[in-house]
Amino acid sequence: MATTLAKAAEAVETAARLEHVSKSFAGPGGQQLVLDDISLDVAPGEFVTLLGASGCGKSTLLNLVAGLDRPTAGSITTDGRPALMFQEHALFPWLTAGKNIELALRLRGVPKNDRKDKAERLLELVRLKGAYGKRVHELSGGMRQRVALARALAQESNLLLMDEPFAALDAITRDVLHDELTRIWGETGVSVLFVTHNVREAVRLAQRVVLLSSRPGRVAREWTVDIPQPRRIEDAPVAELSLEITEVLRGEIRRHGQH
C-alpha cells in the first residue's frame, strides 16, 4: 500500500518518466534494436525537444509514450493519456475545423452544451477565430497545424507530444508557429515533448534539448537552454548553441560511416 502511494506521489512530479526503455522490431535479419535503454524525465510544464537524425527512432519513442505501442523492455509512466500531434495534421476531413476540436472534447467527456464554446476558445488561442466552420481542405498548411494543435490542447492532457509538427511547412510559416507554440506553452503550462531533426528548431523552442544517437537510439547528450524566451531562430545565442549541438550530432553520424 505504501509503495503505491509513493508511486502516485511520484507520478505527479513528472509529466512523463521513461525508465530503461528499449524497443526492437522484427526485421529481415532478426530483431532490430531501435531504441536502447532510454531514460528520460519530463517535468510538469517543461519543454523538452528530442533531437536526432532521421530514422533514429524519434517517432517510435513518441508512439511508446503516447501508448500506441509497447516498449520491449523498460517502463513508461505518464500522468494521464498524452495528446499527440503528427507531422501531417491528421485532422479528419469529414469534419470542420471546429467539429474536429469538438470531437476531441466529446471523447474526453465534455458535455454537449460546453463543446462549441470551448472549441471556439481553443481556436481563438491559436488565432483562428473565424475558422470554426472551415473544412480542413480549405485551410493552409500552417492553419491546419494550428487547428491540430488546438485539437491536441482540447484533450487537456498534462503532456503534449509533438512529432516534427512543423517539418512540412515553409520557413516563414514555421517561424510564426514557433512563436505561437512558445506563447501557448507559456499560457497553458502544458509540458511538451517535441521531436525534431532540426537543431535550430530544437534550440529555439526548448528548455532542454535531448540528443538521440542513431542505431540504436540512445540518449547521447543533453543541453539545458537558458536563453530567455521569446527567442528568435536567428538570435546569436540560439545560433551558437545550435552550432555546438550540430558538431556533436555530426560526430554521432560520422561514427556510422566508419564501419
Binding site: 499527440l84 484533450q155 526548448a206 540512445r218 537558458d226 536563453i227 530567455p228 538570435d235 555546438e244
Partner: protein
Amino acid sequence: MASTETTTASGAEPADARTSDTAASDTATNGARTTGTRPADAELPGIEAGLDALETEQSGRPSLRQTLVGKVLPPVTAIVVVLVVWQGLITFKIVDDPTKLPSPSDVAQAFHTDWLKGDLLGYIWTSVSRGLLGFFFALLIGTPLGLLVARVRFVRAAIGPILSGLQSLPSVAWVPPAVIWLGLNNSMMYAVILLGAVPSIANGLVSGVDQVPPLFLRAGRTMGATGLRGTWHVTLPAALPGYVAGMKQGWAFAWRSLMAAEIIASFPDLGVGLGQLLENARTASDMAMVFEAILLILFVGIAIDLLIFSPLERWVLRSRGLLVKS
C-alpha cells in the same frame, strides 16, 4: 552504455539591442518563461493573418452559367445529334422497315398514348418502387455484412473472396433459381435485387474501411476513440467515400437485376413494370413500344442515379476536398 552529459549554454550575450532588457532580467533558472514583448510579437498576428490569407484556397461553387455550359449543354447536344441521325435514317429511307426501326415520332406517339391512358407513371412506379425498396433491404443487409467482413478476420477469410466474386456474376443467373424457390411473386423480385446489390454494397464498405489512412486511426486512438467509439467516430466516416461508391454500383446492379427479373418472369398478377412492358411489346411485335420501354428503363436508371446517388457522392467528396475540378 552511453554516458549522459548535461551542458548548459547561457544566453548571456544578447543578439541585438532589442533583447538586452529581457536578457538582463533573465534568472539563472531553467529557461524561465519570460513574457517579454518585442516589436516582433506585436507584429505576429498580422504576419499570421497575411500568411493565412495568402495560402487559403479560394473554393467557391461554379456559377449557374458555368454549370449550364459545362454540364447541361454537352449531353443535350449528344441527344439532339442522336435524334437527328435517327430521323435521318428514316427520312432518307436508309432503314425502311418500321418493324425494325420505328421513327422518333412513332416512339413519341407510343409515349403519348400511354401517358393519355394514364399507364406511363404506373409502369414507372411499379418498377421504381420495387427497385428502391429492394435496394433499401440490400442496404440493411449489405452494411452489417460489409462491416463484419472488414473487421472480423475469420469472416473475411471465409466469405471475402466469394463476396467479391459474386460481383462479377450476372444477376440474371439468379432469376431461374429464385423463381423455383420463391415462385412467381414479388419476393422473387426482391431476392434477385438483393443478390445483385448486396455484394456491391458490402464490398464498397470493405474497401472503404481498408482504405482508411492508418494516421486517422492513430489520431483517433490518442484521443480515446478505441473499440466501438473508434468505429463510429473514425472508421465509418473515413470509409464513407468507398461505401457511397458501393451504393452507387449497388443501385446500378439492383436496377439491372430487377429488369432481368421482370423480363424473364413476367406474370400479369405482378403488375406491369418496365421489364414487363418490354416483354409485352416483344410478344406484340410492337417496335415503337419496345423502344419506349428501353428508353424508359434507361432514363429511370439514370434519373435515380442523378437524383440520389450522384449528389450523395458529390456531397461526400466535396466536403472532404476530394472532388477533382475539371
